[in-house]
């Protein structure tokens, strides 16, 4: 697939994923499912930017690990701060 087609695919996927994020944010049944769904989509979107727009899919693994590490770490921190009190209270 040409790089232009990859970029078009990433853009369409990002728009769709953003709509999915808003849907899950508004319609999730529980906080746990909301956090899980929204942050999973956020990490997928980050991957589309990192591998698609930034083209790190072509480069060394260590740079991909570093760049993927940021959204993963942020998502884990956000999930922990939301879900730990939630599960402790229930």
């Amino acid at each position: 697939m040409s790089n232009t087609k990859v970029l078009i695919f990433c853009w369409l996927a990002l728009v769709f994923a953003t709509a999915a994020t808003v849907y899950f944010g508004a319609n999730a049944m529980t906080l746990g499912s909301q956090v899980g769904a929204v942050l999973t989509v956020a990490v997928i979107k980050s991957g589309l930017i990192i591998d698609g727009f930034m083209e790190l899919r072509h480069t060394q693994t260590r740079w991909r690990v570093i760049m993927y590490g940021w959204p993963l770490a942020m998502s884990l921190i956000i999930a922990a701060t939301l879900l730990i009190p939630y599960f402790m209270a229930s």
């Binding site: 232009t4 994020t21 944010g25 930017i49 072509h58 942020m74 956000i78 939301l82």
Partner: protein, 201 residues
């Protein structure tokens, strides 16, 4: 017309066939430093939300997720157009790249206009920096990102001008790639900030 612009397009449409990073290494170190700064704001927001969940829920109710959706699509579309512009430079079509960068700036202005509208609405309703902890962190985090968007727009405007002047081509594109990578970093930060501030909790 420069001699480089006469090169066959197929010969230069291999973006990063080598395993090198797009752009300068210095820009990637700068991007990591910027992400570290965003990390501090995100942790501050998350931890404070853990301490005051009801306050954050009430504060978030003042924000419109559909506006956040439109802002996000504006930014992501801008990143897409900027990535296409890099492709055009690699194909020795800097004038086309210039037009794509201008389109990227226009798309990013959707975010800027909507964000300014949101800021005005909240400020007029009294939800300013001192209203409570949610709005203090909302303003600090989103303004920090908003300032990065403005810096990114200046970078994009410079890239559009350089492309229009045929300052970049397939062989001389590192500056172009570095500027566009910075713009993608701003998208990446927003992809995490948007659900944290507008949706979760």
């Amino acid at each position: 017309m420069s001699t480089s612009s006469k090169q066959p397009e197929a010969a230069v449409l291999q973006p990063a066939a080598s395993h090198a990073l797009p752009g300068d290494l210095a820009m990637w170190i700068f991007i990591l430093a910027e992400l570290a700064a965003f990390t501090l704001f995100i942790i501050a927001f998350s931890v404070t939300q853990m301490l005051y969940p009801e306050m954050f829920q009430a504060g978030r109710a003042q924000l419109d997720p559909s506006t956040g959706f439109a802002m996000t699509v504006g930014l992501l579309s801008s990143g897409f157009l900027a990535a296409l512009a890099v492709e055009r430079v690699r194909a020795n079509r800097p004038r086309q790249a210039s037009l794509l960068i201008v389109a990227a700036i226009a798309s990013a202005m959707v975010y800027v206009v909507l964000k300014l509208s949101e800021y005005t609405h909240l400020a007029n309703a009294g939800f300013d920096l001192e209203y409570n902890m949610f709005f203090t962190l909302y303003w600090l985090l989103t303004l920090f990102h908003f300032l990065h968007v403005w810096l990114g727009l200046l970078v994009l405007a410079f890239l559009a001008w350089r492309c229009f002047k045929r300052g970049y081509d397939a062989e001389n594109r590192s500056g172009m790639e570095s500027g566009v990578m910075y713009w993608h970093m701003i998208d990446l930060a927003w992809v995490i900030i948007f659900p944290l501030v507008y949706l979760l909790g």
